[in-house]
């Protein structure tokens, strides 16, 4: 291909990637389920419905804004996004979803949309499959060269050696890995045991060179 054709091809690929990312973030299934729950809450518990609409709009806004963001955001911001997501899941999900926090440090930056997709994965594929629900624990630990961010769930677990199904969540997790590994010293580890649970560890380096 000559120069111009190459550039157009590149531009096309970038725009395709952006579209795929945007579609993966729109999550129509999640949106319609939330709206459905809110519909019923309007009648049965208007105050909860109000809170749900506020959470829903904040969640959506954070998702859409993240598409335009390159680079790093404060961890607290990602955590807020996660809390909105959890609040919405709790509204829909009767079986019992608990989130625990053990944050040694919260004063650092991480790539945008890295924490929330992992927590979402833990809830959807780990905990929602358990009859009595379960717990997600988010931990941060200070180390000499960076922060260790861990998301652990006591869900059903999965076989780490089996090939990934090519679904929306897989795209989300792969995106997290790409964004983390783009940082010099950034790493991501996934460990899981069927019937016990899953642990995802992100190593966020202190020296951030993109």
């Amino acid at each position: 291909m000559d120069q111009t054709a190459q550039m157009t091809e590149q531009e096309r690929k970038i725009s395709e990637m952006k579209t795929r990312l945007m579609l993966s973030q729109m999550q129509p299934h999640f949106l319609y389920n939330c709206l459905n729950s809110i519909y019923y809450l309007c009648g049965s518990d208007p105050e909860k419905a109000q809170q749900a609409v506020a959470d829903f709009s904040d969640y959506l806004r954070a998702n859409m804004d993240s598409l335009g963001k390159e680079g790093l955001v404060p961890f607290r911001e990602e955590l807020t996004h996660v809390k909105k997501y959890i609040a919405l899941e709790k509204m829909r999900f009767e079986r019992g979803l608990q989130v625990k926090y053990d944050l040694e440090s919260d004063d650092f930056e991480i790539p945008v949309l890295t924490l929330q997709p992992i927590v979402e994965n833990a809830v959807k594929h780990g905990i929602e499959k358990r009859p009595n629900g379960g717990t997600v624990t988010i931990t941060t630990e200070e180390q000499d060269d960076g922060i260790l961010l861990t998301v652990q769930d006591d869900g059903v677990g999965f076989d780490v050696n089996a090939p990934y199904p090519a679904n929306r969540t897989h795209i989300g997790i792969r995106g997290v890995r790409e964004r983390i590994e783009r940082l010099e010293g950034g790493q991501m580890f996934i460990e899981s045991q069927i019937g016990i649970g899953t642990t995802v560890v992100l190593k966020i380096p202190l020296k951030r060179l993109i």
Partner: protein, 286 residues
């Protein structure tokens, strides 16, 4: 405090008035759907705060804000909008804040607690305005030490997964903000030093329980973690013990209201040291 609201959509205007009243029931809140009426009122009455919708049909909120600022440069303008496109213009006007719709009580509270222009102490309204602002706050935490130790979040006793978590926090309060090591806490919570290693994982569960309880009400600011140590942030919550110590130091010669010293953290035996020193303080004051 005098607050006005302007949104050309009737439902949004009424909703916003009701939301602001919910946050600050003592404030005088008036709503307008016609920008000209809002401007008129502002000129005559000099409200401290104006919530303005940016996307109005007749006259846009930014222009309305400019006109209000011309009349009163110290008015606090808080814009409300569904789009994020106007932040730089809001900053140019030196607005006090910016709220994304839907406008919730939490968002209003956050803005009212952080107004750009504070009322001057010479203004006759100053006392009542300051009272209005002090009365609103995020989830309120009150710690009672005289009597059965208890932590109240918005007036309700805090619920923990483990009973020892409360004792953990009580010790941090007793240390008055000093940072404490994990070992020190484990020594206090479990008197038997031999089985320290088995206590470590239980201790971590207690720590998680403590953090989760505050994190879930967005009050993680109550706890400080630094270099492997933990402490409480004294000014993040109200506490009868801290209040008592402060009144003692402010009034060295005059009598103060005495709590029942013997009741200080009555459930915990390790609190005996502090009980003793509180008695001594009284004795030497005479």
């Amino acid at each position: 405090m005098d607050i006005i609201v302007c949104d050309d959509e009737k439902l949004a205007e009424e909703g916003l008035v009701s939301t602001v009243r919910g946050v600050m029931p003592e404030a005088k809140v008036l709503g307008f759907t016609l920008p000209a009426d809002a401007l008129n009122y502002a000129e005559k009455n000099k409200p401290e705060v104006a919530f303005l919708d940016i996307n109005m049909r007749e006259i846009n909120g930014l222009v309305l804000a400019e006109r209000m600022k011309e009349m009163n440069p110290r008015i606090n303008i808080i814009f409300t909008t569904g789009y994020s496109a106007y932040t730089s213009q809001a900053m140019d006007i030196h607005a006090s804040g910016y709220i994304m719709k839907p406008v919730t009580e939490d968002k209003v509270r956050r803005e009212l607690m952080d107004l750009r222009y504070q009322i001057s102490s010479e203004d006759p309204k100053s006392d009542s305005v300051k009272k209005d602002i002090n009365r609103i706050s995020g989830h309120e935490i009150w710690v009672r030490t005289f009597g059965n130790f208890e932590i109240f979040i918005d007036g309700e006793p805090a619920q923990f997964q483990y009973s020892k978590t409360k004792e953990f926090f009580a010790y941090l309060v007793d240390r008055r903000g000093a940072l404490v090591s994990n070992e020190e806490i484990m020594d206090v919570l479990w008197e038997d030093r031999d089985t320290q290693t088995s206590h470590l994982s239980y201790f971590k569960n207690l720590r998680t329980d403590l953090f989760t309880a505050f994190e879930s009400v967005d009050r993680a600011d109550v706890l400080i973690r630094q270099r492997g140590k933990i402490g409480v942030r004294k000014d993040a919550f109200g506490c009868d013990y801290f209040d008592y110590l402060e009144s003692l130091s402010k009034n060295p010669d005059r009598p103060v209201h005495l709590p029942l010293i013997a009741d200080y953290m009555s459930q915990y035996s390790w609190a005996e040291l502090t009980r003793g020193s509180l008695q001594n303080m009284l004795y030497y004051r005479a």
